[in-house]
């Protein structure tokens, strides 16, 4: 079925597939963990029961998403070895310690306190439960920090040397961790995770508001999400701009592909809004351009010269079309999020936030937009640094394990079938949880599990807890 593909191609597809599936869950759980910590803290602080309803409602969704993130993440930690062993051998001394720190400082923290956060309120009381919830949120952010440091080092390597067996060895750990693109990538990704979660929470709130605009929990989650979008989307667009300038400095070829600049422009490069990259003929077909705008954005000068792909050897170019289109998808969705946030702000200002069906419908449609934008952004940056795994140093084709195409092909097919089945089911269960209306009195209840069917009462303090009867 996959005859004719090289082991390298199959291994790349496998990595892209498993990674893309995996990133969906952390992108959601990073934001959701912080949202849970905030709602739990607000509940303890204000004693407003609505926050507690929100916490319990999203807690279950978090548990499913987090579980999927864990199991799809274990795959990643071994796939470096099974499929990319030469990379592992060469880069292990530099990236391995950072990943070890991720496990030690973040994964254990999340996993250790998750049990208490999900199951332990009655056993430890509200104070320690809050602490556990905060630790889970902190763990997700720490995890993002380490893994983005690793990824950034592979994009903009620094602080390394090489030993006599051809391994990259660490010379200056500060330069490795705080490599040139790391701060930008970290901010951009964490904000993306927050926005992704805000869109989901807003979409779910809007869905329930469309059915009943009086529900206090639906109102609260929609309102919180709209504040988040209004405040964070402009920050994210600014962060993305800084990230782009950083990429121009350190990975100019990636920016050429993003912009679709096949030719150099000595006096002002146009911004190509749309077109169809034709890499074989080295030109942009059917392009719609705004003269000199690209130079203005990237160099803050209308007439600044910008080099194009004609200055790059063919074997060092990334696949332009993928990068060009995925970048546009991400940016387009970013501005759509800004629009949604502004609309929400105006509706709130007019006092119509909860009685605006069109706004709510758009919010529902935009619910998954964060995931698409995150994937598009990662495709841009990962495909854009091809054909290298460590930018400018180690080629993807030189990173591969001595695996045979049938072995990689067989495991790829297994991953595809199993991921669609297993994670498809998980996403279905998450949607099912989301379709239930959040309300006071539904705490801890799960109507579709007969042994746990509940006469649940809301938790007033740590001593009174949901009682379930079989």
């Amino acid at each position: 079925m996959l005859d004719g593909f090289s082991a390298e191609t199959l291994a790349r597809v496998q990595f892209a597939f498993t990674m893309s599936f995996h990133i969906i869950f952390p992108a959601f759980s990073i934001g959701l963990a912080s949202f849970l910590a905030v709602t739990n803290a607000l509940w303890l602080w204000t004693k407003d029961e609505t926050y507690q309803v929100l916490f319990n409602y999203w807690k279950k969704i978090f548990a499913v998403a987090f579980g999927m993130g864990v199991v799809s993440g274990i795959v990643m930690s071994y796939q470096f070895g099974t499929n990319w062993s030469v990379f592992s051998d060469k880069a292990g001394p530099v990236v391995g310690p950072l990943m070890a720190y991720e496990v030690l400082s973040a994964f254990f923290l999340e996993a250790g306190f998750l049990g208490i956060m999900l199951f332990g309120l009655k056993r430890v009381g509200p104070g320690l439960h809050m602490f556990a919830t905060a630790m889970v949120a902190f763990g997700t952010l720490l995890s993002a920090t380490w893994i983005l440091s690793v990824n950034s080092w592979m994009q903009t390597p620094a602080g390394y040397g090489m030993n006599d067996v051809g391994q990259y060895i660490p010379l200056d750990w500060w330069k490795i961790i705080l490599n040139p693109s790391f701060p930008y990538r970290l901010v951009h990704m964490v904000l993306a995770a927050f926005l992704t979660t805000a869109l989901v929470v807003g979409g779910v709130g809007a869905w329930h508001l469309l059915k009943d605009h009086t529900g206090p929990a639906s109102r609260r989650m929609f309102s919180m999400a709209m504040w988040m979008l209004l405040l964070v989307t402009p920050l994210q667009i600014a962060a993305g701009d800084f990230h782009g300038l950083n990429t121009l400095e350190h990975q100019p070829v990636k920016v050429m592909a993003m912009e679709g600049h096949f030719e150099s422009h000595p006096d002002g490069a146009p911004l190509i809004l749309f077109g169809i990259p034709n890499q074989a003929e080295k030109r942009m077909d059917y392009s719609v351009e705004v003269p000199k705008l690209s130079s203005l954005i990237l160099k803050h000068d209308l007439n600044a010269p910008l080099a194009g792909l004609d200055t790059v050897a063919d074997e060092n170019e990334p696949p332009v079309a993928i990068v060009f289109f995925s970048f546009r998808v991400m940016v387009g969705l970013g501005f759509a999020m800004l629009g949604l946030g502004l609309w929400g702000g105006i509706a709130r200002w007019r006092g119509k936030l909860y009685q605006a069906p069109m706004l709510h419908r758009l919010s529902v449609i935009m619910g998954p937009a964060g995931f698409v934008a995150v994937l598009a952004g990662w495709i841009t940056t990962e495909v854009g640094r091809q054909p290298f795994t460590i930018y400018g140093l180690l080629r993807t084709s030189d990173s591969l394990a001595p695996v045979s195409a049938p072995a990689v092909g067989a495991s790829l097919i297994s991953f595809i079938i199993i991921y669609f089945f297993v994670f498809g089911a998980g996403i279905f269960y998450i949607m099912k949880l989301m379709s239930k209306r959040p309300r006071v009195g539904s705490v801890g209840e799960l109507t579709d599990a007969p042994t746990r069917a509940a006469t649940a009462k809301p938790i007033i303090n740590g001593s009174s807890t949901p009682s379930t009867t079989a």
Binding site: I116, Q167, V422, Y429, D448
Partner: protein, 335 residues
């Protein structure tokens, strides 16, 4: 550092992580293995709830094993994983099926049996593959020029099938003794009865493994019959005998905790035995600990943080176990 080679300190830390993984995730994989032997759905609910708050932390030790190996022994990571390509991939897929079952089971009535099967099947495949991987390592892995140079099916031999079956049965024993400790009443009695055959089978497998593995590699043979390590040849079996005695005695007298601790002690002793056989190799016959080690700057940088973080992890992991100590209330759980 203090006259000790960094790489040897690290070999110790990695070995400790793998051991902690085996003794912790071993019993929760074991709970999955026992699923088909349960009497009804309510038994399965309680069995799963006994590990629900902790399985995630247990599995993190496996991630540390992978991530840690990449950090400090990248060459071992880069050669062992391609050598064990298929068992590793199958193990990961197995872990996916069992891991998601923890949540999915509670989200559906119609498909609940499906996720029961997935919890069992995933645990079975993961346990078998881990045992096979262990056996394949004991057999030895062929490395040339810093890459794996063996065949794709080298990991599949009668010996690795034995180790796969042995680890699976051993995990089932851990699971049964864990449940004997955590449950009460009718289910506890059921689990205690189940512990018997798995415990007997585990002891038999340990015996067969101990007699067979010295013939896999002449180095193991020499190590077990040469001074000073020959001391362990007497000590380890004596301790094994003590643990077996405690285990059976505990089961006979209906003790809660002793059978579980003795079952875990069997794993620790088996692990020490394998460690003695391996030393000073990290990949038997091919790579020594020193050869596989990353440069000192990587080892040192990672060690500093590990010495701070690992004790903290052990403390809050212990705290979590403490919070969820005691018998399981069948009515409890957030579901």
């Amino acid at each position: 550092m203090f006259g000790l080679e960094l790489s040897f300190i690290w070999a110790g830390i990695i070995a400790l992580s793998v051991l902690i993984y085996v003794i912790l995730d071993g019993f929760d994989l074991g709970v999955g293995l026992l699923f088909p032997l349960s009497k009804d759905e309510s038994e399965r609910d309680v069995m799963m709830n006994s590990v629900a708050p902790i399985w995630d932390g247990n599995e993190t030790w496996l991630v540390l094993g992978g991530g840690g190996l990449l950090a400090v022994f990248p060459l071992a990571y880069a050669t062992v994983l391609p050598a064990l390509y298929m068992p590793i991939i199958l193990m990961l897929l197995g872990l996916i099926f069992r891991g998601v079952a923890f949540e999915y089971r509670w989200r559906t009535t119609r498909w609940k049996p499906l996720w029961d099967v997935s919890f069992f099947g995933g645990s079975l495949v993961a346990a078998m593959c881990q045992g096979i991987a262990l056996g394949a390592l004991v057999q030895g892995i062929h490395i040339e020029n810093r890459t794996y140079a063996g065949g794709w099916w080298d990991w599949l031999t009668p010996f690795t099938i034995l180790t796969g079956a042995a680890l699976t049965v051993g995990y089932a024993m851990l699971g049964a003794t864990w449940l004997n400790m955590k449950l009460q009443g009718r289910i506890q009695a059921h689990m205690r009865r189940l512990a018997w055959p798995f415990a007997v089978a585990t002891v038999v497998f340990m015996g067969v493994f101990s007699l067979w593995s010295p013939f896999q590699n002449v180095e193991y043979f020499n190590r077990w019959f040469a001074f000073p390590t020959a001391i362990f040849s007497f000590l380890v079996p004596a301790l094994v005998a003590a643990a077996v005695f405690g285990l059976f005695q505990g089961l006979r007298r209906h003790w809660d905790i002793i059978p579980f601790l003795c079952a875990e002690a069997l794993f620790v002793l088996g692990f020490i035995g394998i460690g003695i056989s391996f030393y000073p190799f990290i990949v038997p016959s091919s790579l020594t600990i020193a050869e596989a080690a990353a440069p000192d700057s990587s080892l040192m940088f990672t060690l500093v943080g590990t010495l701070v973080l690992l004790p903290m992890i052990l403390i809050y992991t212990a705290y979590t176990y403490w919070v969820f100590r005691g018998k399981i209330d069948p009515e409890d759980g957030y579901h």
